[in-house]
């Protein structure tokens, strides 16, 4: 053995298995998760960080090995939402970031041509989350309430306020 470096065979096998499982989960869910995070946060860079951390945490927790395949997507989505909520609590960073983003994105052609998306981005955080989960993820009010940790009534009122505000901000929208 002299001079050789020993690898523990079990550890190496576990590494490879974990990476393969993680890759499978990434291929299946990364794109959808990234889209959701962009809609929630309004920013591609923030969304990428959220997705990255979601997969890392999920892998660290060993969830991919224990969860049934059908529940991996929901688990990742819940993790991403929790990470996003945690991020919002780091308020000074988040608020300054939002101000910077608003000015940086001002010249983007996408923003100019899609007034409604700009209005969605300006919604308060909880209202935006309700709108994204209800209209993009097509979740029920109960599912949205469970994910956001609030009551069904709150989801109803937040969604209703959001839609009312969008109506106010986009004058040409059909009533």
């Amino acid at each position: 053995m002299g001079g050789m470096i020993e690898h523990h065979p079990d550890a190496l096998t576990t590494d490879i298995a974990t990476t393969q499982t993680l890759r499978q989960a990434y291929d299946a869910h990364a794109a959808g998760l990234l889209r959701l995070c962009v809609l929630l946060s309004g920013r591609q860079d923030v969304a990428e960080e959220l997705v990255q951390e979601t997969f890392e945490r999920t892998a660290r927790a060993g969830a991919l090995e224990t969860l049934p395949q059908a529940r991996v997507g929901a688990y990742l989505r819940t993790t991403a939402l929790n990470l996003w909520k945690n991020r919002l609590r780091r308020l000074a960073i988040e608020r300054r970031g939002r101000a910077r983003t608003a000015s940086r994105d001002a010249g983007l052609s996408f923003e100019q041509r899609d007034e409604l998306w700009s209005a969605v981005r300006r919604l308060p955080t909880r209202q935006r989350a309700c709108v994204v989960l209800r209209y993009y993820e097509e979740l029920s009010e109960q599912e949205t309430a469970t994910l956001l940790g609030c009551s069904v009534g709150t989801v109803k009122s937040q969604t209703s306020r959001a839609i009312a505000r969008l109506r106010e901000e986009i004058p040409d929208v059909d009533r």
């Binding site: 308020l91 899609d114 955080t125 609030c150 839609i163």
Partner: protein, 591 residues
Amino acid sequence: MSIDERVRQTLRRRADDVMVPDELWERIDDHARTASRDTSRRIAIAVAALVLALGSFVFVFRAFRVEPRPERPVADPTLWQVREFPVGRDPGELVIAQGSVWIARDGVVTRVDPSSGTTQDTPVALRSEGSSGTVSPRSQLTYGDGRIWTVAEPFFVGIDARSGEVERSFAWESGVTRLTFHEGRLFYGGSAEGNGQIVAIDPSNDESDSWGTAGAANPAVVITQHWLWAADSRSLTRVAPDRDPQQVVAGIDVVDSITAVGDAVWVTGDGTLWKVDAREPAVSASPQSEFPAVADGAVLLERAVTAQASVAAGGGALWLLEQAAAGTTLTQLDPTMGSPIGAAVALGYDVPAVLAVDERGAPWVTFRNEGVLVSLAPSEGAVLPENEPTTPVDATSARLEVSCEGSGVQLGGGSIVTATAEGVQVAINNPAGARYVEFHRIGSGAGSSIGAPAAAQRVFNWPIEPGGWLVGCIRSGQDYRDVPTRSFEVVDPTGYWIQPGLDCDAPTVEQARVYGDVSDEEVPAVALSEITGVTESDTFGGAGYGGRNFHGWRYWGIVVRDGKRVASLKVGFNREITIESCVADIHWVGP
């Protein structure tokens, strides 16, 4: 196309534009492998730690073991006397007046007598001729001049707070919400053409008085000694007594609740608790500014709270209600600093509806699903933290006393410190062994740090400009956002602080050097003697507090002419001189 469908399509279109970058997988994979390599090493450490942790766990488990979700409040009965009153599901606005608690519900105002626990409903859902129906008074309830006031569109309704009978009603326009009573007048936030409207009504003669527009719609109105504050869900607007100008408080873009203690306003929104100091006259009118709080200093303090939090005040006491996955908690806050007074009181897992504080400073909370009103009062003989603010609001100190204790920081002597000609006198004690003490402007990334003393107290003058600041004790690898901070305010009534910079866009720049046999201390005076054009009517002073050792310069002086900063002299530690001038007559004449 309906707005629902348009929103759906917009979100899908935006989502379709999202591309997954190639390097995202590589970043995840790299981190996963690094974490895996570290695992073996961590296992060994973890085994050792496990043995130690096991003992601690048993202790902690006993202290904090998770019980099945209680339906009832779980405040410590040795400290708090908790009382519950059934009031019906989904209660609305809550007011405490004349020894009773009044709760707005659909079509009725319910009066709860805390002494007997009995309830009495007063129907208020009136109906007018030509009106197609009634509107619930759920969000409109206030007390003033012996009456509980509510709205049952299109009527204002006044209920005698002693008899519980409707004593007065008068017809009004629709869209009235968020009532407040102040000095004989009912204020409400209405809505017209997409703007929030503030209206004051004298209920004795039904005459109204417009306070103009503020926010988007139906703002909540709070009145302090000098100002009226209007908060819609996205902004806070301060209205001067003469109603003009109306100024948006920059830096606050989500408002869930608002209350006033003394002359300061407290706001929660989007996971933040803010204190806005009503004494500060300057408020930025431009919420678009990237760092607006730097310019105005109106937001004195901000703290992270849970995403669903509300504040209420009464009897000089400030209470914070927070809803989280771990349950609902109620915490009394110091109305000066916003620091918790004592431990948070757990109130179970039901969804809270409204928090109110009575004139004795005791909190009342309604819960939606259980339909109960919960009151909290100190138990007899309980030793509770003082109810008084830790620092009187108006107290100012000559010295900022900073003490690094445990993982946090404490401020002694007061949170408002008066600047001297030499700067702000700071004393640091460091029993916790922090590495640095960092100061940061509230609302800005700008700040400075200084090494914390190893043992004895260190006292020094530090160029902290007037305004609101955070201070934190930092260990290696930490950032001020990672550690508990305290806020304080620097005031400069004498005007010692001179803001660095010039009042022109493109000053001329000359560079020179002082040679010869002069001491370092004499260099600024020698340099100044070689500048021409400074007249007797000009003012010459050091930037900041005296200009010495300021922003990396040995000395930084500024010439002020007719109120404008027209020229500056900067002296470097290597005796290099930089003269910047906005006017032709001030320039360098030396070698």
